[in-house]
Assembly symmetry: C2
Homo-oligomer: 273 residues x 2
Amino acid sequence: MVEDRLTRSLDALGGVEDDIEKVEKEVELIRLSKLSPIYERRSRAISGVDGFWKVVLSQHSDFANYVRAADLKYVDCIKSIDIKWLCLENKNKDYRDVAISFEFEGIDGDFEAQVVTKYFTIEHDTSMFKYRGKRTEEDDLRDQELGFLTSKPCAIKWPKSYDGINPSLVSDKTSAKGKKDYRTGMKSFFSWFMWTGLKIGKEFSNGDGFANLLTDDIFPNSTKYYTEAQVDLEDENIDDEDISDGPIEMDSEESGSNGSSDETGTSSKKRKL
Amino acid sequence: MVEDRLTRSLDALGGVEDDIEKVEKEVELIRLSKLSPIYERRSRAISGVDGFWKVVLSQHSDFANYVRAADLKYVDCIKSIDIKWLCLENKNKDYRDVAISFEFEGIDGDFEAQVVTKYFTIEHDTSMFKYRGKRTEEDDLRDQELGFLTSKPCAIKWPKSYDGINPSLVSDKTSAKGKKDYRTGMKSFFSWFMWTGLKIGKEFSNGDGFANLLTDDIFPNSTKYYTEAQVDLEDENIDDEDISDGPIEMDSEESGSNGSSDETGTSSKKRKL
């Protein structure tokens, strides 16, 4: 009898969880459909702010983890970033399915101006993996349930200066130099555009992490990061003035507590612009 | 002319941010109004699962940061936890305003069975602080903009065994023992019910962190934590059987990759039940 009550209650709990999941998806769809036209308006406003994305991407501490230092020259060519949620056009799509577009300005004689769009799709069929790397059965069970991000390779014209490391141009992959060049190229931001998510250890690593960083943080919070960068810049200018204009004034009563003030949880850190 | 375009664009960006904020609030209200009746259904299902909250609170790694080890005996008396979002009844309320209710079972001769409800309200007026601790002007500016959590002290009957440390019963707060007892009591889970958020350093510390942990994580994800605890328990039982029933079988091909498998980001860790 006690067992019966427990079983019934646990069944009811399972049903409740399914309903919560349904509501969360439904609400996410409402959220994206309301935000989407606002993001379009934002894109138009951003086009009037020169260097907006350069400032945003410089300001974000995690972005640099996904690109080589040498890539930053080309990252600075990013004129616009746009994300479309595919579920808004096709209700059968997962709400995490997105198309991420980059518009690049060119660099004369080295890098061609171009717009590229990379499509991301949530899959649940773990038999799709071509290379499994260190994936375990547990990883499979989790991914079958929650889904995992995949993507189609997307054509992008690499800079001429990268000819030596462009993986599609490295013909000799057996010599030590060839291997090294190939690996260097695979770590470049440009290799992310070839990422499929199905060849663990054999392609740009953590490509889904990079896609999620763009989709869940950098794109929605871009104005916030831009504003933070401006404030940081102003602070630096004030500091410079303080130093050149004379002694820094200290409020003796407050200085102690200021000195030990906690960091106010911002997830950003700038590289020099 | 260039300046004009930039100014116009930044103004437009500001307007866009306001609209995004409005949408996020609107969507959060939709989300809470859809989830609220489901949470009520869940509460009824949970009442049929003895020890549900004991298991959930044991499973969560962060919960223990907010209670003394000695409190766990009384944490185990929690029969139900309920959260009501106040904006659902009064649209003028901040969507982060909540009432958190605990139903306690009693312990004969020590602890009285009771239901207590603590109300939390977002405020923006930083002149309300009675003790500022190490708060800086930056903290004030941030809290004025984003708001900060406050609460009314809420009457709760302490266990008799805590008479020695119950802050309202410690009459001598000047002796070394009195100070120590008072401080010990202030660290107890029971002092959280007195927390106001306005007396930094003079009351239960990080009371807003505890309220947010309950509101944003433990309450919405309680079924998930309960299920995880059951799976962990089954795993332990299987391990025990392996040891007692004979040699552990190893799949030589898989054992290497299993050994190096990554932790799959769960934010929980159990204490012994």
